[in-house]
Symmetry: C2
Subunit: 230 residues, 2 copies
Amino acid sequence: MKALVLSSGGIDSTTCLALAVEHYGAGEVLALSVAYGQKHTKELQAAQAIAAYYGVKHRHLDLAELFRDSDCTLLQGGGDIPKESYADQLKETDGKPVSTYVPFRNGLFLSAAASIALSNGCEVIFYGAHSDDAAGNAYPDCSAEFNDAMQTAVWIGSGKQLRICAPFVDKTKADVVAVGLEKNAPYHLTWSCYEGGEKPCGVCGTCRDRAAAFAANGVKDPALEVNHEG
Amino acid sequence: MKALVLSSGGIDSTTCLALAVEHYGAGEVLALSVAYGQKHTKELQAAQAIAAYYGVKHRHLDLAELFRDSDCTLLQGGGDIPKESYADQLKETDGKPVSTYVPFRNGLFLSAAASIALSNGCEVIFYGAHSDDAAGNAYPDCSAEFNDAMQTAVWIGSGKQLRICAPFVDKTKADVVAVGLEKNAPYHLTWSCYEGGEKPCGVCGTCRDRAAAFAANGVKDPALEVNHEG
């Protein structure tokens, strides 16, 4: 294996997977998905379908135990998921992350990915952090500053055997969608909504961001077209 | 809770625990120990005994699944543990870590600790990395450069809510033992040997380092005195 891709089943990581498969070939790519107690376990089924679409090996990891004491609203047992945009939510957080921030999730996922990647001879980890999620400190573990530090930590801590590639860390979600449309990423298979219901709720932060990103590219969201019409 | 201490049951982390308990009080300290498929599970029993000695809450985490594909010699199913000093081992590794380096272990443990610490309101994570382990790239995830990067990653990635304290990152193991002796750390309860046999093997890298650190302080190793005499 050459590359490990953190694959959540959403737009950003699916676009990363498209890039990794294009560059390394499906046989050299390992997709890693993590259960962490999220309400929307539906994203894990999406990740599995996307890995099958590309014909890459898919590994599933359960780290829910680590978040059992968290009151994050994204998690089972947490409070209600906010129905406002991130910008509106941030007016109430006093500089802290939004309530759907999962404690150090990206750091944990990148570190778990590093241990697995090194154990399988991979030279690079891809993940889909982008600047919209980092804006206003909504998700500080999506910021370029965080990414720089983790890149150094993984490079040095691995004995210079493994690096992190975050191709969208300075780009918007609309930019990500533009890349994915060009690469024919299977967006019809993706899942983003935090609620994990039958259809996307349309009002959680990530539903709003997803809709705006497709709108900015002048296309309809293929997941809404294919899976949830009517 | 105020402080989380990564506690392996060895000398370095037990000295960290002594410092954290002195500073924050036992009621505000959470000790975290991790099973990762190590041969010397005996260290986990030591960690439990040390947490009980200090009267701190102790949490156990099993992350062995992450290392199932690793050929690290420290792990069950790995090859033989070298019987030479780290300095001698490094003559054969061509600049790579020693064979007992567990892939990105400290990054993973610090990240898992960060998720748990944030979920429990802690403001700081203590861990016992020291310069002897980092020397010559034996364990690159014990180096000051790695630690600096992880400190930044945790501080930024947590939204400036959590920091890492590595009090020995620029010190030798002999320095660590000097601190612990001054603080009356319960070294008689600790376990270091990688083999995890009835008695310490005396010839693995960590047995050698431990013996040298006590010798440098002019004292006998109390664990050898109390637990394993005869």
